[in-house]
């Protein structure tokens, strides 16, 4: 008996999820009818695509206490998703002698695209270096690193 019930339930479930795709007909009694036009974009495109264009370098002038930079987001992702970019300092400004000037990524450390579909949407960030860092640093060429991390987030 249990087997019979389980088979019946399985059939009911199958029927419930089946989408009928019967053609409709028009005749003298039914003069109009509808066809559904479907685009299954989730299956076709999955998460979609995005790219983030980041600056190859951010060049500071000695003594700068702030420096603005910009990156751009281009995306075509699912309606309820956004491209999220997170900035983080990976390495302080460091010279060949391994001396450092500390800097910070200020304010907008996270940028989120305004919509699912954007084209070269510009986002800015700011680096800050305390004046005391410059004052204490030996004159040399310094290079640091900022890491940009991009991911999809819920809108």
């Amino acid at each position: 008996m249990k087997k019979v019930i389980s088979v019946v339930l399985a059939l009911v479930m199958m029927m419930a999820v089946m989408v009928p795709a019967f053609a409709a007909t028009l005749d003298v009694n039914t003069q109009s009818g509808n066809s559904t036009v479907l685009v299954d974009g989730i299956t076709d495109k999955g998460d979609g695509t995005y790219s983030v264009e980041i600056p190859a370098s951010v060049d500071l002038i000695w003594g700068d206490t702030t420096k603005a930079g910009e990156y751009k987001i281009t995306s075509q992702v699912q309606t309820d998703k956004r491209v999220k970019v997170t900035l983080a300092k990976a390495k302080d400004l460091t010279n060949a002698a391994n001396e450092t000037i500390e800097f910070a990524v200020a304010d907008a450390t996270t940028g989120i695209a305004n919509s699912a579909v954007v084209n070269n949407e510009a986002h800015t960030f700011n680096l800050t270096i305390d004046a005391s860092e410059w004052a204490a640093a030996s004159i040399a060429t310094y290079e640091g690193t900022i890491t940009f991390t991009a991911e999809l987030a819920d809108a």
């Binding site: 009928p20 795709a21 019967f22 053609a23 409709a24 007909t25 028009l26 005749d27 003298v28 003069q31 109009s32 009818g33 509808n34 066809s35 559904t36 036009v37 479907l38 685009v39 299954d40 974009g41 989730i42 299956t43 076709d44 495109k45 999955g46 998460d47 979609g48 075509q76 992702v77 699912q78 309606t79 919509s115 699912a116 579909v117």
Partner: protein
């Protein structure tokens, strides 16, 4: 008495060898079919769904018509895009714009009688330009085409 009898027999013999020649008569009986009492019939078969692959700029949606109508009559099928040609996602928050290709939104059958096995076929073409795909978020979109059929003179 014999004379009378012989006359009667002579007459009988005359009639027996007479070949009757009647006058010729030609008549006609009309055979009528009053088709006006029979209702016209036609069937337009439209697809339940038409699936468009992401990025596809044109999609032909085929339908067929067969009919048995009064002489000189045909079936005119008109197709319209609902919602101003906007496909929508389930939440009604995203749209994909499309249009119906000019010249494919109407079809009139060429004959009054079309057998089902030789149904006339036509297609309406759904157009989604690349620019529309580019500005659509990735989603599942649904739109509706409305087919309307009517009798017309051909």
């Amino acid at each position: 008495m014999k004379k009378v009898l012989s006359l009667v027999l002579a007459f009988v013999l005359m009639f027996t060898i007479c070949i009757p020649v009647f006058a010729e008569y030609v008549g006609s009986t009309p055979v009528r079919v009053d088709g006006s009492t029979v209702g016209a019939s036609y069937t337009v078969t439209i697809p339940a769904t038409a699936t468009i692959t992401w990025g596809q700029t044109e999609k032909s949606v085929e339908y067929s018509v067969y009919s048995q109508l009064a002489t000189g009559k045909g079936v005119k099928v008109t197709v319209n895009a609902d919602a101003d040609g906007k496909m929508k996602n389930a939440a009604n928050t995203a749209f994909l714009e499309y249009s119906l290709k000019s010249g494919t939104t109407e079809y009139t059958t060429t004959k009054s009688v079309i057998l089902s096995e030789n149904a006339e076929k036509s297609s309406v073409v759904v157009q989604i330009p690349t620019a529309n795909w580019d500005k659509a978020s990735i989603d599942n979109y649904v739109g509706t085409l409305t087919f309307s059929a009517e009798l017309t003179n051909i």
